[in-house]
């Protein structure tokens, strides 16, 4: 689902509007730890009111980048600007930034109320103001009535909300969230996802979320930056990244995808035909880049873009494969088929179960035809 940043008009997102200035600028930030480069020359612009996700596998440097933004780590080189002010050398306790830790880091020796009030007390806010703001915040995260509890009397989800309230009560310019949902079970995670989005929408704070879970990033974020080995390899809206991945890593990281290697045999304008030896087929594809004949590249096709039929398709502008149903999985809303082509490659296909029926349309070992449109073939040169 795409969202539009609340600070902006509904027509044009901030990052496409040249008139808006980025709220957070990361300029050429590098971080070395004893010869190991955790973050490698990263540039990033985040706009006010965005819910920005930094996504990557473990050890890709995403947490280090977050800790640099929070001020716990000093970058080896580069600058961090928030709202126009240089924050590179500002210690964490003076930054207009708050963080929600992966472990939540709720103070175990303080009550919920004291936890939430802690940041305001350090600011030296007057007592009456602290009381009202803490109360408001506890209401926002639906923890009113838990003010006097100690953290060990709370569930994981409640502790997470304490951590969120504690960070938000300071009204930071930016909220950093480190794997906010990783410690919650599946049901609670889905619920909290939408709760986080609602809260972000209500208060309009810029959120930066670090996660390794592409589903989480896709549902939450306005934009996603995919990180690998300390570098950003792609930055865009969830839709852009899912449908137009820049390389095999991104394509494979987001959901399931079928990858076929091949050689370009014919180019005609934007269109081309790719001979994929492994599946013994001619795949039709389009690319905006000019690609020379005989280039080796990878064709990527999402399982849901492939249609599976018992009869051969009649359009000849589609790419077609023939095979037998090797494996099938019923998931309620959709069925996953693993089809073995004549050449022995397994192709994954998913189809919506649109008709209510106790009987299966396709069975094991049925001969099937797989076909997809030209624009469903993603051309990956990397």
């Amino acid at each position: 689902m795409t969202q539009v940043s609340p600070a902006q008009s509904a027509e044009k997102p901030a990052w496409l509007d040249p008139a808006t200035k980025p709220f957070i600028r990361v300029e050429g930030v590098t971080k070395n730890f004893n010869g190991f480069t955790a973050v490698d020359n990263v540039d990033l612009e985040i706009y006010q009111g965005e819910l920005f996700a930094i996504l990557g596998g473990s050890g890709c440097g995403k947490t280090t980048l977050l800790r640099i933004l929070a001020g716990f780590e000093r970058p080896t080189s580069g600058r961090i600007l928030i709202d126009g002010a240089d924050m590179t050398a500002v210690p964490p306790y003076e930054r207009p930034v708050n963080m929600m830790f992966q472990s939540y880091a709720v103070f175990p020796h303080m009550t919920v109320e004291k936890n939430v009030a802690y940041g305001l007390k350090k600011e030296g806010a007057p007592k009456a103001e602290i009381q009202t703001r803490v109360k408001e915040m506890l209401e926002l995260v639906q923890l009113d009535g838990f003010a006097e509890r100690k953290p060990h009397q709370l569930s994981g989800g409640q502790r997470q909300r304490v951590a969120l309230a504690r960070a938000l009560v300071k009204r930071p310019k930016v909220l950093l969230l480190d794997e906010p949902l990783a410690a919650l079970d599946k049901k609670l995670r889905e619920h909290t996802q939408f709760e986080l989005m609602n809260i972000q929408d209500q208060i309009g704070v810029t959120f930066i979320v670090v996660t390794h879970d592409q589903d989480e990033a896709m549902t939450l974020a306005t934009r996603i930056a995919v990180m690998q080995a300390g570098r950003f390899i792609q930055c865009g809206t969830p839709k852009e990244i899912y449908e137009y991945p820049v390389n095999r890593y991104v394509a494979d990281f987001f959901g399931t995808i079928n990858l076929f290697e091949g050689t370009v045999s014919r180019v005609e304008g934007e269109g081309m035909e790719v001979e994929c030896g492994a599946i013994d087929a001619m795949v039709k594809a389009k690319s905006f880049e000019t690609i020379q004949p005989n280039t080796r590249l990878t064709i990527a096709v999402r399982p849901e873009k492939i249609s599976i039929t018992k009869e051969p398709p009649d359009h000849n502008d589609k790419s077609v494969l023939k095979g037998v149903v090797w494996d099938l999985g019923y998931h309620g809303n959709l069925s996953i088929y693993r089809v073995k082509t004549d050449s022995g490659v397994i192709v994954q296909v998913s189809a919506q179960n649109r008709i209510r029926s106790a009987e299966r349309v396709l069975e094991w070992d049925d001969v099937v035809y797989l076909s997809w449109d030209v624009q469903s073939s993603v051309v990956l040169t990397e």
Partner: protein
């Protein structure tokens, strides 16, 4: 009853038997002796039950020893002196041990093991030898005085040995590991995200320590302090070897009563009072620990 039950029962009963044989029975004997009168005989005290006497007079117990303890200043002074030395030694151990434990807990795993090894290393040498070594270092003709004399910092050797200073030094030196280890165990368990979280919320480094690290390390402070305070209170060897005439601690007095005066009943009464002084802080500790485990559940 199957074999597992038997085994379980054996495992549970053994420590209790151990405690009964080596703690409760000796304690009963000392308690019994503390109610007796000293006599010149073997054993040197009257028995609680004398079955040679008439049934009405066969039981004999007296509180004279306890009365004497209250009356004679010597005992009061020794108890107070012991309490004072134990208390201040504990404070010194805490002051010295906390930064050490903190540094070890924050060190990288390789260094951490190295440091812990260094903390435990002195135990490989006999305690008595180490105290004797201090005598060599501190005496008027010892290492420190010779060094200071040779560089001309002092003209006369300093009286370092046989003072309260040397007693404190000996106790802090000997008991420091007992402070550092439980403190380390508590500090190593602390989630350093908590420190980062406090800093993130606007607390400067010293405030972070006061608000987060210190309150969360209280269990370690308490167990470390008790592990130093309890043995320091009854300490005999260190004041006997390093202490002066005025560093009279209760352990020394106890020793003198037993072996010098051969007044076993009075010595037993001294021991019983000392035990009571130790049991009270232990009970406080127990209470605290129970509350701690309750909280964790």
């Amino acid at each position: 009853m199957n074999r597992d039950d038997l085994w379980r029962r054996f495992v549970i009963v053994t420590p209790y038997l151990w405690l009964l044989m080596f703690f409760l029975i000796p304690f009963g004997l000392v308690l019994k002796i503390s109610f007796a009168d000293p006599i010149v005989a073997m054993p040197p005290f009257t028995s609680l039950f004398d079955f040679n006497k008439a049934p009405g007079e066969s039981f004999y117990a007296t509180l004279d020893n306890y009365r004497f303890l209250l009356k004679d200043d010597l005992y009061r002074i020794s108890y107070l002196k012991s309490l004072k030395i134990a208390f201040f030694s504990t404070c010194l151990c805490l002051l010295v041990g906390y930064p050490i434990a903190y540094a070890i807990a924050r060190a990288s795993p390789v260094w951490r093991n190295m440091f812990l090894f260094l903390i435990i290393l002195p135990f490989w040498i006999s305690f008595l030898l180490r105290v004797y070594a201090w005598m060599g270092i501190l005496s008027t003709n010892g290492v420190i005085n010779n060094l200071l004399l040779s560089i001309g910092l002092i003209e006369q050797p300093l009286q370092l040995l046989y003072t309260d200073f040397s007693v404190y030094l000996g106790i802090v030196y000997s008991y420091l590991p007992f402070m550092v280890l439980p403190l380390y165990a508590t500090l190593a368990k602390l989630d350093f995200d908590l420190n980062d979280a406090a800093a993130d919320l606007g607390a400067k480094p010293l405030t972070v320590f006061r608000d987060v690290t210190l309150p969360l390390s209280i269990p370690g402070i308490i167990s470390g302090s008790l592990l130093v305070f309890i043995p320091a209170l009854g300490e005999f060897v260190i004041p006997a070897l390093l202490g002066g005439l005025d560093s009279l601690m209760i352990g020394r007095t106890l020793y003198d009563e037993f072996f010098g005066n051969r007044d076993w009943p009075l010595a037993s009464a001294v021991a019983i009072i000392l035990l009571l002084m130790l049991v009270v802080p232990m009970m406080v500790f127990q209470h605290y620990q129970l509350r701690e485990t309750d909280q964790r559940e």
